[in-house]
């Protein structure tokens, strides 16, 4: 089964992450494939917030994905994961 990506999901995610980076004083350019956690631009504080934000905003249970942040390591990765058929809210 394939899923057509909803562009608004990606742009909302980009806005959300850019805002968090600005709050941390990081206004360097950010492309959709830049690594967020591996690079250190987002940290442990951001990780909890990001997962909870996705859970509440999209009604998805991400508790298992919290064990593996490398799957949320870029805007593209997050947008893809949020829109996986298995991740859609019931």
């Amino acid at each position: 089964m394939t899923t057509t990506e909803r562009p608004e999901v990606r742009s909302r995610m980009r806005h959300y992450i850019t805002q968090r980076l600005i709050m941390k004083g990081d206004s360097s350019p950010l492309s959709d494939d830049d690594l967020l956690f591996t690079s250190g631009r987002l940290d442990s504080l951001d990780a909890v917030e990001l997962i909870m934000s996705i859970e509440t905003d999209y009604g998805i249970n991400f508790s298992d994905i919290g064990f593996d942040l490398t799957r949320l390591d870029s805007i593209s990765a997050i947008a893809g994961l949020v829109q996986q058929p298995s991740a859609e809210p019931a």
């Binding site: 805002q19 709050m23 941390k24 990081d26 956690f37 591996t38 690079s39 250190g40 631009r41 940290d43 442990s44 504080l45 990780a47 909890v48 917030e49 997962i51 909870m52 934000s53 859970e55 509440t56 905003d57 999209y58 009604g59 249970n61 508790s63 919290g66 064990f67 593996d68 942040l69 490398t70």
Partner: protein, 516 residues
């Protein structure tokens, strides 16, 4: 060791092992003798700047070698020091400085109060030059400092809307050091990480349990926009044997596949505290290091000299439906009572509020008699002489027979966010100070995995979320800035007419889900 204050205890360690490494910071190593000499010179410099026994010195510094040496210098004079976050919003820094009424602020930035600036290389070099001409011998007046004299001030969130400074006596830290030696086996040959921020309570353990037991401390920054793999590599490069941090950091390293004996082979003991560690996540940590390193859960409000109980994680720890690791048994020299709202002991096996006593308990809050009187009270079961207990606000239950304490929630609106203690009322106050906001209430939502998210509801004029976020960021540290701000027609109240945080949390949970 028989020293009656921290400074003499440190000097005894220096005499035993002058050439052992005491501190590794900014790529440089300092022996005990070098750190002691530097602290003695800085103590004489502080005296020349008007600092005397009992005066407060604020150290608004990042992890630089001078920060550690100045802390030791202060304890040698008997001048309590307060580490302040050099990145804190200016308004919050001013509130803390006003409470301290410092004789001197040593800082990397301009601001309130009489200050010595060491913000750039030239200023640092000038201080080093001035100090280098001073005598590096121990100070004779150090012997006059008693165990009940204040050693340091540690700021924590306050429910009245401003942070409060906890004053800890020398004897409180001496007991912490003894516990670290006896129960955790810390001694010469050990290397402790100091990943915890120095203006955060957990760093008291790193610095004193390390240095005063003859171990080295390695200053490291966890949150500086660096790849997490770098932090792990540094811990291994410096052969650290003891790693203490908040559960959030360990869970993060686990999520990045960096928490395992192949990444951290030198660490033989991991300790975590400051917030609960969800057992599901702890299980992964425990399994990863099974037989290779000990895991210790510790507990202690700032008012109990950093830590008042510890619990080693073992296989049977997971045979519980609690969801969180136990707090453990209280360390020697702490006494406790579990009381109900009427300050009467609760029946065995039921939860009540934990009140803590003994020499490890704080002297009170600096220049804040109202808050001190509210939290430090005469033991209700003792009549006729002074016996002070600190009211922790933590609801606990004591396990019959073992005395192991289990956490059962809070009696007030204090929450733990990434290990930081946050009074939600402090956020409410900051929001109401924003023009147009008439009432505000901060709440925390929890997910099934134990993670938490800070949100805020407000009433009054409808404002842009970015505006509210910027306002909060100007008044509160980053971890206290809510991630979402939701406008409500009015803030719901309970039967007593008080703002109802529980129903607001429920409303906000629905609101953010609907907004997507």
């Amino acid at each position: 060791m028989t020293a009656h204050n921290l400074a003499l205890h440190f000097e005894e360690v220096v005499a035993v092992s002058p050439d052992a490494i005491a501190l590794i910071c900014e790529g440089e190593s300092f022996t005990f003798s070098e750190l002691n000499g530097s602290a003695n010179r800085l103590a004489r410099w502080l005296i020349s700047q008007g600092v005397d026994k009992g005066a407060v010195v604020c150290l608004e510094l990042p992890k630089m070698a001078e920060a550690y040496a100045l802390a030791v210098a202060c304890i040698k004079i008997g001048a309590p020091y307060a580490f302040l976050d050099p990145a804190a919003p200016a308004e919050r820094a001013r509130l803390m400085l006003e409470r301290c009424r410092p004789a001197l602020v040593v800082s990397v930035r301009e601001g309130f109060g009489p200050r010595a600036l060491i913000g750039d290389d030239a200023a640092r070099a000038a201080l080093q030059d001035a100090v280098s001409r001073l005598d590096d011998a121990n100070l004779p007046q150090t012997a006059l400092i008693t165990g009940v004299d204040p050693a340091y001030v540690m700021f924590t969130s306050g429910s009245t809307g401003e942070p409060k400074g906890v004053v800890i006596p020398h004897q409180g830290v001496l007991h912490l050091i003894a516990w670290a030696k006896q129960d955790l086996g810390i001694g010469p040959g050990d290397r402790l990480t100091n990943v915890n921020p120095i203006y955060f309570d957990n760093s008291v353990f790193d610095i004193y349990a390390g240095l005063l037991n003859g171990a080295a401390i390695v200053a490291l920054d966890a949150l500086k926009g660096r790849p997490p793999a770098e932090l792990v590599s540094e811990i291994t490069k410096h052969q650290c044997t003891f790693f203490f941090a908040v559960p959030t950091l360990f869970m993060f390293l686990d999520s990045m596949h960096l928490l395992g004996p192949n990444w951290l082979p030198s660490v033989s003991r991991f300790m975590f505290g400051g917030e609960g560690f969800p057992l599901a996540r702890l299980r992964r940590f425990y399994d990863a290091f099974a037989g290779k390193a000990k895991l210790i859960n510790c507990y202690g409000p700032t008012e109990t000299s950093c830590i008042c109980s510890g619990f080693e994680i073992v296989e049977s720890t997971f045979d519980t439906t609690d969801g969180l690791a136990p707090l453990g048994k209280l360390n020697p020299n702490f006494s406790y009572r579990i009381l109900d709202e009427d300050m009467k002991p609760v029946p065995a096996g039921t939860a009540g509020e934990l009140w803590l006593g003994g020499p490890g308990v704080a002297l009170g809050y600096i220049n804040n008699p109202q808050e001190t009187a509210r939290r430090f009270r005469q033991d209700p079961l003792i009549d006729g002489y002074r016996s002070i207990l600190y009211r922790s606000g933590d609801l606990v239950e004591a396990e019959a027979g073992t005395g192991v304490l289990r956490f059962r929630g809070r009696a007030d609106n204090q929450v733990k966010l990434r290990g930081y203690r946050v009074e939600l009322e402090e956020i409410d106050h900051a929001l109401v100070a924003c023009k147009g906001v008439t009432r505000a209430l901060a709440v925390v939502l929890h997910d099934a995995g134990g993670a938490s998210r800070l949100l805020a509801a407000y009433a009054g004029a409808k404002l842009a979320e970015d505006e509210l976020r910027q306002h909060c960021a100007a008044h509160l540290p980053a971890y206290m800035v809510p991630s979402r701000f939701i406008w409500l027609e009015d803030i719901p109240v309970n039967a007593n007419g008080k703002a109802d945080r529980r129903s607001v949390a429920s409303l906000l949970g629905q609101a953010v889900a609907r907004a997507s």
